[in-house]
């Protein structure tokens, strides 16, 4: 059985899964949508109170949480929409121009 990561434009149709089925979960995670960014959110960990208000508002599930702590952005999936900066009650997220994270 062919895996999602081995399927590309050059894969012959005979090798594709029947009916266009996918047998693995969450294969989209391997796809880089971070290159879409024209603006980039920057996370200031020292200002973050881990209130988590930004997490459910991220359309791209690009804000990881572990053991009660909000971690830095997943820049492979973040599209730079800036919703998180707008819902953050603290100065913990600022948007910078351009697709690359920098302070």
């Amino acid at each position: 059985m062919i895996n999602a990561q081995d399927i590309n434009e050059k894969t012959p149709w005979q090798d594709l899964t029947p009916g266009g089925e996918i047998y693995e979960a969450g294969t989209a995670r391997a796809f880089n949508t971070g290159v879409w960014r024209t603006n980039t959110p920057v996370f200031h960990a020292q200002a973050c109170k881990h209130c988590m208000l930004c997490v459910p508002f991220c359309p791209d599930s690009a804000i990881p949480v572990k053991d009660g702590k909000r971690l830095d952005f997943n820049y492979m999936h973040c599209k730079g929409c800036g919703i998180c900066e707008n819902v953050c009650p603290f100065p913990a997220i600022t948007m910078v121009t351009g697709g690359v994270p920098h302070d």
């Binding site: 999602a4 979960a25 294969t27 391997a30 991220c58 009660g68």
Partner: protein, 312 residues
């Protein structure tokens, strides 16, 4: 889930809608869908059914799926029928002891796939009483194909098929009140919600809908920065204004009992919600004041009637 909602505990769960999907930056649908799926108990599995929509073409592009659960898409008009079929098959297998564990059935469709094209299959599935949740993420037009008007598009809104010019000033017809139509199906649970604040409203309603036996319906406002023409970073602000102006009231109907979920401390005038959106821009031109008055009048009427139904 314990009875008290705790955002910190909920966001600790691994997301069931992953990143890497191709929804536009700032899309409300991604926020709505991950919010609904977060309400599943972590140990339970789900079958996600999707009508053709922005969501479907963006989250399930072969060989990429953004779902951690099983997913099925067949067509625009039959997502509720597809879901009810899968649910019936599951029940048959369960009776024969061939599947175990809890599996929940959730359909996502946009307003085009719900208010218009998928309406017959939705109505049928609800009437037949399948144990499923149908979630409409309502962005008020056919955004996927280029912002054409749907029966969910509000009065006077500009779309590509209701353009603004000398011949017309946006949509001439009213928005259909689908939530109330679903209430009239006499199903166990119907609710209207939106992504707001700490997501308590969206989460508790989703959890209730998923874990109430029988057919349940959620209508969730899902702002679209492209179609509504507002700055994409303003999703939370736009949604809040929709709720505070009573354009999109939050309520639920459980076993026939109407309950208002939120009464704004100060009911804002509708123009507060409309001004930031390009689709309503023509209404602020000189000579078009009557349009805003008309919308305000209708919103007030519907709000009063909702207050009456909920006894608030």
């Amino acid at each position: 889930m314990s009875k008290i909602y705790n955002l910190k505990r909920e966001v600790e769960k691994p997301p069931r809608l992953t990143g890497g999907h191709r929804l536009c930056a700032g899309c409300g649908a991604g926020v709505v869908v991950s919010g609904v799926l977060r309400a599943l108990n972590q140990e339970d599995r789900a079958v996600v059914v999707n009508a053709t929509s922005c969501l479907e073409v963006s989250t399930f592009m072969y060989p990429y799926t953004a779902y951690m659960d099983s997913f099925i898409h067949s067509a625009f008009e039959n997502s509720a029928a597809t879901c009810s079929g899968v649910e019936a098959a599951y029940n048959a297998l369960k009776r024969r002891g061939k599947v175990d564990g809890t599996v929940k059935f959730i359909t996502f469709a946009g307003d085009g796939g719900t208010y218009d094209i998928g309406f017959q299959s939705l109505s049928g599935a609800m009437e037949r009483g399948h144990d499923m949740v149908y979630v409409c993420y309502d962005n008020e037009a056919y955004m996927n194909t280029g912002i054409q008007r749907s029966s969910s598009t509000p009065l006077f809104a500009r779309t590509t098929t209701t353009p603004v010019g000398s011949a017309g000033q946006g949509k001439k017809q009213n928005k259909k009140d689908l939530t109330e139509i679903l209430v009239a199906h006499n199903i166990p649970y119907v609710a209207q919600t939106a992504p707001l604040g700490n997501f308590k409203d969206l989460h508790t309603k989703s959890h209730k809908a998923i874990y109430t036996e029988g057919p349940c319906f959620l209508n969730i406002l899902s702002p679209c920065p492209r179609g509504w023409d507002y700055p994409m970073a303003q999703l939370a602000q736009i949604t809040k204004l929709a709720v505070d102006t009573c354009v999109w009231p939050l309520y639920e109907v459980e076993e026939g009992i109407w309950r208002l979920s939120y009464i704004p401390k100060k009911k804002l005038p509708v123009e507060e919600f409309m001004r930031p959106q390009g689709r309503f821009r023509h209404m602020f031109q000189k000579g078009n004041e009557w349009m805003i008055e008309e919308v305000q009048k209708q919103v007030d009427q519907r709000w009063e009637s909702l207050l009456e139904k909920t006894g608030a």
